[in-house]
């Protein structure tokens, strides 16, 4: 019984971690640009397809390839699509991100096909490990560790480095940051590059877990992670990580806790929770200072 609880908790934490990383990627871009980037999902998807393309190469090469592609696509979409729209209405930006997301999805469907493809990335991680008499899938533990490392690195970057400081300043008040000499292009490009790294990590871990690829796979993850950024408090990075984590973890825990007949409706309960949180705290769990000022 207790073993079951621990296993479910590890499951919940590992899925929550993936959503936390996804929500963080979305939250970072929203922070500096007020853009809700649904095309973030395509960064995950394209990382997955890169892994497939490099399947015969050594694992390290495939992983590095996936990260490089995600960063390159993130920077390219910023330069080609979002930079010309800088300062546009958030609605315009949102619709542009949807258009971009569909464009990449359909291009993928056209070139590699829309059929689901099986892929076995990092098969070593499928192994079970035993810690204190409890069996875990190694991949879940790795997912949690990777998330902790990335959160630590991001937090260090934002708090301790010059460009991290500039990025936080730009997220709180972009105009004032510019008045102090913060370069808009640099800060925004950096945010996109980091969102690419986060998306690549999620893409690699997610594909390792699911073992399949399809052009639409990223969107579902991003849609749920986006809900996480909203309940966490749009514009707040800690909020995004916490919100994403909670939504992901809640999904897994409900799966374990709900009576059998209700399990297929677990999303219903997750979103019910979301509604309740937003009713109690409309600004999210951890509101962003910049947004609070604006209202």
């Amino acid at each position: 019984m207790i073993i079951n609880v621990i296993q479910n908790l590890v499951d919940a934490i590992s899925v929550g971690s993936l959503y936390a990383l996804t929500a963080l990627g979305i939250g970072l871009i929203f922070g500096v640009m007020r853009l809700i980037n649904f095309a973030h999902s395509e960064l995950l998807t394209l990382t997955g397809y890169t892994l497939l393309l490099l399947n015969s190469e050594p694992t390290a090469v495939a992983i590095i390839g996936g990260v490089v592609v995600a960063i390159a696509i993130a920077l390219a979409t910023e330069r080609v699509v979002f930079r010309p729209l800088r300062g546009a209405d958030p609605t315009t930006l949102l619709i542009a991100s949807f258009a971009l997301s569909f464009f990449i999805q359909k291009t993928l469907a056209l070139t590699v096909g829309s059929k689901t493809k099986g892929i076995d990335v990092l098969p070593q991680l499928g192994a079970q490990i035993v810690i204190g008499g409890v069996r875990f899938q190694l991949l879940k533990v790795v997912t949690i560790v990777v998330t902790i490392v990335l959160l630590g690195l991001l937090s260090w970057f934002l708090k301790r480095t010059r460009y991290g400081r500039q990025m936080r300043a730009a997220a709180e008040n972009f105009r004032m940051a510019q008045l102090l000499g913060v370069r808009a292009n640099l800060v925004i490009s950096l945010a996109f590059a980091i969102s690419g790294i986060l998306a690549a990590a999620v893409g690699i871990l997610f594909v390792s877990q699911s073992g399949f690829l399809e052009p639409r796979m990223g969107l579902q993850l991003v849609a749920i992670a986006f809900v996480g950024t909203v309940i966490g408090g749009l514009g707040s990075l800690t909020g995004a990580a916490v919100g994403g984590f909670l939504v992901g973890a809640a999904t897994v825990l409900l799966q374990a806790v709900l009576p059998l007949g209700l399990r297929e409706f677990r999303e219903l309960f997750v979103y019910l929770l979301v509604v309740v949180i937003l009713l109690v705290r409309p600004q999210g769990l951890i509101p962003a200072p910049g947004l609070r000022q604006r209202v």
Binding site: N173, L180, V182
Partner: protein, 266 residues
Amino acid sequence: MQRRQSPTPQDDRPILAVSDLHVAYGTITALRGITVRINQGEIVAVVGPNGAGKSTLLSTIAGLVRPRQGQIQYRGHSLVGRSIEDILRGGISLVPEGRHIFSAMTVEENLLLGATIRNDAREIDADIDSLTGRFPILRKRWQQPAGRLSGGEQQQLAIARALLSRPSLLILDEPSLGLAPGIIDEVYRILLEQRSRGTTILVVEQNATRALEAADYTHILSAGAIRLSGTSKQLLENPQFDAAYFGVAPPEGSSDRDHKRHSKLG
């Protein structure tokens, strides 16, 4: 308008010369042919009622707004069309209305951001030491989120932050807004001291009294045009002062309100 000599003339030419500046937001005109000259080492004030176009003038100098017509010459070079960063690097630093400190970041981080354009880490540290010597409250609140500071403390932080870019010309938008009289005195004491260190200052105020006391030269701006200019003494003795300040009704769709919609910080 008769110009008097600068108290410490170092150059024949003014450090900043705004001439015939016209600014409009869409169909709404905010400035209609403004001409202002600032000599090295002066404090120049622009006072006027809400909606006069004061913030627009500063925003245009800082590169936030493009003028429709007219010139802004700084040390003999045109600022029109230059980027915000270029203008800052040239030595003009703006403390905007409402201070706009980064409330979630610490006092230390706010100050470091003021030195964004500089790369001389050791000199920056020395400047920060000297500034926190002048504003001890900032040292005391060093690691606190700036949002927890009082209004007066935030204004000190905003000024210190602006000074960290080592500006030759400091421009301030309504520095006394929302502050208690004692705190306003403190802010102006800081400005006068900064002038004595060689910084030229352009300040915009709705509260004319305090600005007139501090300024070497004052312009009264109303409805987008300068109505009267002179030294404090000349202006206070001028029977047209009140008429110039209050007499002209702001035009339809007051410009300042519109300005805020267009270039609101944050």
